[in-house]
């Protein structure tokens, strides 16, 4: 049994924010509940109030504004995995979403909930970093927009300020002609580690690239120095540089030992997966 709580059902985001301000730590946002119900069961959080944001109109929408895909906070993983717009414009994200846990979790869990919980062993964040996603945060007195890389602050912590909630995620598709791949290793439902890679290849050489790694340290990270290093290299050379990048990764990713793998193991596998993902992306025929 779960400890008793009350449920508030605001119908707009300003009301939700006002309740968060009024109740402070006595309340928590309830979106899909895939993570929250477990925390309640294990007694890790003791909210008196759940603020149910599922009835706020607009939060469950996916739309394309001509430049970015806007994903509302309560859109479920399953919808991101299957939605035609996402599959067409953001196939890398659709792929990463399709790997999350199992079909039941994907039916229930939301993108907003996943990002706000910010478990270091998670799929969407790594893929979204590759798209240089931004998040829109709402408070009763207005909105602000920040980069997802700043929002995903650290292990289970985010850039949300008191009274603030995640409204939507803005994701720009990869430029035309880029190829991409998302790879993960896992023994349980959560990824032990994951990598997302995108590249623009020209005559067998890497003209431009984006690399991201998740789950190795406290948060997913872009690898800008390694991206710069492989630019201009032939594909085989770029793969070798990635495979040999362990010292850099160790320095950059703040690896930690955890239940899913040792820091050394995760660094070793990150280098392997980066190299492998470049191969896979190069074979994907420009289908981002």
């Amino acid at each position: 049994m779960l400890q008793p709580f009350r449920v508030l059902t605001p119908t707009n985001i300003e009301q939700a924010s006002a309740e968060l301000v009024r109740l402070g730590e006595r309340a928590t946002i309830y979106a899909g509940g895939a993570e929250l119900i477990l925390l309640l069961r294990y007694g890790m959080v003791h909210p008196e109030y759940l603020i149910n944001i599922k009835c706020i109109s607009g939060l469950s929408e996916i739309c394309w504004d001509g430049q970015t895909v806007q994903i509302g906070a309560t859109v479920t993983h399953r919808r991101l995995e299957t939605d035609p717009l996402i599959r067409e414009r953001l196939p890398l994200l659709a792929d990463a979403e399709s790997r999350i846990a199992n079909i039941r979790v994907r039916n229930q869990g939301t993108l907003g909930g996943n990002l706000c919980f910010n478990d270091p062993h998670s799929d969407p964040g790594t893929a979204l970093l590759l798209h240089e996603a931004e998040v829109v945060l709402a408070r009763k007195d207005g909105l602000r927009q920040i980069a997802l890389s700043d929002f995903l602050f650290g292990m289970y912590s985010t850039g949300l300020e008191p009274g603030e909630l995640l409204q939507k995620v803005l994701v720009t598709p990869l430029p035309v002609g880029w190829c991409a791949a998302y790879l993960r290793v896992h023994r349980y439902q959560r990824p032990t580690l994951n990598v997302a890679v995108a590249a623009k290849l020209q005559n067998g050489a890497v003209e431009d690239a984006r690399l991201a790694v998740g789950c190795v340290g406290p948060k997913p990270q872009r690898l800008s120095e390694l991206e710069a290093k492989i630019r201009g290299e032939k594909l085989d050379g770029a793969k070798r540089i990635c495979a040999d990048s362990k010292p850099y990764l160790k320095d950059r990713l703040a690896p930690v030992d955890d239940l899913l793998g040792s820091a050394d193991y995760k660094i070793y596998m990150a280098a392997v997966l980066l190299s492998r993902a470049l191969s896979q992306a190069s074979r994907s025929n420009g289908k981002g």
């Binding site: 779960l2 008793p4 709580f5 009350r6 509940g33 846990a101 039941r104 229930q108």
Partner: protein, 170 residues
């Protein structure tokens, strides 16, 4: 004899809900914190749905809400308001087993049987979504339904056979 759930310290809030369970209407009050698994097992005495990991990992508590599989252990019962819930008890009709149930029996798609209602409900959801799944699609869809007896080959075979049977009956 079935153990009763521990009484909550004091429910702070209840919801009046109207739902359809296995085709029949149900109307009443549920505490905000009651999960669908407890609602089904203790309130409705539908004990075919099993409690196991209570972490959305094992799949033993799988039921369908509006045709979609969810972990009833971690789904608040009030969320089912206005929706249709299907459990293992709702598959047979008019004294006839569902083709999935028949196939599981025929192929011995279970050893201890504890995961079986979850396996069958997950399979039901798959066949509603995709009437002709491949072996690979079955393994992807059911990767969150764990069978510690290791009956996976017989489970997959049962689902493939049931898919054919559904088509023949149509």
């Amino acid at each position: 004899m079935m153990a009763e759930p521990l009484a909550p310290i004091a429910t702070l809030q209840s919801f009046e809900i109207e739902i359809t369970v296995n085709g029949g209407p149900w109307k009443g009050n549920v505490p905000a914190e009651e999960v669908l698994l407890d609602f089904l097992r203790y309130r409705l005495k539908l004990t075919g749905t099993k409690r196991s990991c209570e972490s959305e990992v094992c799949g033993a508590c799988t039921v369908l809400v509006d045709g979609k599989p969810i972990s009833s252990c971690s789904y608040l019962a009030f969320e089912a308001n206005g929706k249709s819930v299907t459990t293992i008890e709702g598959l047979a009709s008019g004294g006839e087993l569902d083709p999935l149930q028949e196939a599981f029996i025929r192929n011995m798609g279970a050893q201890c049987g504890f995961c079986t209602s979850g396996q069958i409900m997950a399979a039901k959801a798959l066949l509603l979504d995709n009437p002709s799944p491949t072996y690979e699609q079955i393994s992807e869809w059911l990767n969150g339904n764990i069978c510690r007896c290791g009956c996976y080959p017989a489970i997959a075979k049962s689902i493939l056979e049931a898919a054919e049977e559904y088509k023949n009956r149509r």
